[in-house]
Amino acid sequence: MKKKLIVTRRKAIISGLTAMGGLLLPGCKSKELPPTYGNILRMGDNLTYVAHRALLPGQALVKEYDPRDISSFPATGTFNPGDSSWKYYSEEWDKLHKNDFADWRLSVEGLVAKPLQLSLKDLMGLPAQKQITRHSCEEGWTAIAEWTGVRLGDVLKAAGILPKARFVNYYAFDGFTDSLDMLDAFHPQTILAYGMNGKNLPVPHGAPIRMRVETQIGYKSVKYLKRIVVTDEFDDFGENGAILNGWAWYNGI
């Protein structure tokens, strides 16, 4: 009697694991997943990504806070791309900064019907969104700030995104680069922020524009944005990208 039960249980384990594998299949079109390079850590990252996309409601909103919750906020990584002694110095950004970003343009290109060159004024002309949210750094610290900006989704719609688009790549003046899938790119709280705590976005926090991806860990919210490229294929960005430096691409966790 007992022996029989054990066999049944073992079968149940196997069918359970098979079912889990089946869960992964819908996300396994290789083009839509970041490459793993045979690295088991990247496979784990992809498992988390696929599981989040399969199990979590698509575009749930993150918690928003009260103005009195606004906290001190460390500026890490690059906090002044105009510092010529810094390894991520950008002469181009420095020149634009000296002219108060009057000549700064955000280029929106790739798989779009109408490539755009948006000035700060153009962006501020689009419907503004304010949100007081928590920044969660992979290091373990958190901070709360009020961000003002335009939805990335609105900008992408204005450019007329093409149906086969799968990823939105973004490039910064300090050399950082990253990408989002369409779900996070069109998340209602994913914004191109030009304001922080009621003022223009300060230099240490990414002036003139930074990405805010509230559903992921801080380093997806790249500062000092320069260019947005819509693509249909995953780009690892070589040595400038996260995954070849050993960091996860998806960071909802």
Partner: protein
């Protein structure tokens, strides 16, 4: 218990997967904590806000490498912004990804274990205290025996003593679930879907601090568990938790 009992296959598989996952989680957890060895309460905590306490476990401990704070508002006591000038220790690339990979093994085998434990009656029969054992004087007797290190030889199966059952109950139904759920509370995509998690623990940083103290509790259990395995017959315990056979012959030394 003279009857030849032994650990079920699924118990043995789950036990060792969870053990390996736990070791990987502690190892990477320490690495992650070393990157920011400060713990807080509430939603917010960073180098510019006060910590509950700080741990001297990496060069990041009280590094103080920040530019002068610039206030965000003109009001006194305004929150500030400051740029970090210090090159911190940070190995979170592999640390985080390995932590989450091990977390997958823990969660999946933990769910299998819970499912089988409830369905097959393992929890009712072997882990939870029976009505008879829910008795203060019996508990005190078992406690005194433990304090005098009067540990019975292992039976090679799930014939657990009272304190043993209580500790397994706490680990299975409280400490490990708390560990997993406070971990989830630090995931922005998960708290977007389940915002009550943040309210449940009082915020992201509170969840992180509870995650830390649960680790301490689990490590304490881990050490005591290994000591008890040694005291009750290391070789037999390891064999019976690994291979499918009972070890009756070796139980003969059992003092009655």
């Amino acid at each position: 218990m003279a009857n030849a009992s032994h650990h079920s296959t699924w118990v043995r598989i789950c036990h060792w997967i969870v053990t390996l996952a736990f070791i990987a989680l502690v190892f990477t957890g320490i690495e992650i904590l070393m990157v920011h060895p400060r713990l807080y309460w509430g939603e917010v905590g960073n180098d510019l806000t006060p910590a509950l306490f700080e741990l001297p476990i990496s060069r990041n401990y009280k590094h103080g490498g920040f530019t002068e704070g610039q206030p965000f508002f003109q009001t006194p006591g305004s929150p500030v912004s400051a740029g970090r000038t210090y090159d911190i220790f940070n190995q979170n690339g592999w640390g985080r990804s390995l932590h989450f990979l091990a977390g997958w093994f823990l969660v999946v085998s933990g769910l299998v274990y819970l499912l089988f434990g409830f369905i097959g009656g393992h929890f009712r029969k072997h882990i939870l205290l029976s009505k008879k054992e829910f008795n203060w004087s019996r508990m005190m007797i078992d406690l005194k025996d433990h304090l005098r290190l009067l540990i019975p030889r292992a039976s090679g199966g799930p014939d657990y003593g009272i304190l043993q059952k209580i500790s397994y109950t706490i680990i299975v139904f409280l400490a490990l679930p708390l560990m997993v759920i406070t971990g989830f509370t630090m995931a922005p995509a998960i708290t977007a879907a389940f915002p009550f998690l943040l309210d449940l623990f009082g915020g992201y940083q509170s969840a992180r601090t509870i995650h830390f103290f649960s680790t301490i509790a689990l490590l304490l259990f881990f050490v005591i568990h290994i000591v008890m395995v040694i005291l009750s017959g290391f070789k037999k315990q390891m064999l019976s938790m690994t291979f499918k056979r009972s070890y009756e012959k070796e139980t003969d030394r059992n003092p009655s």
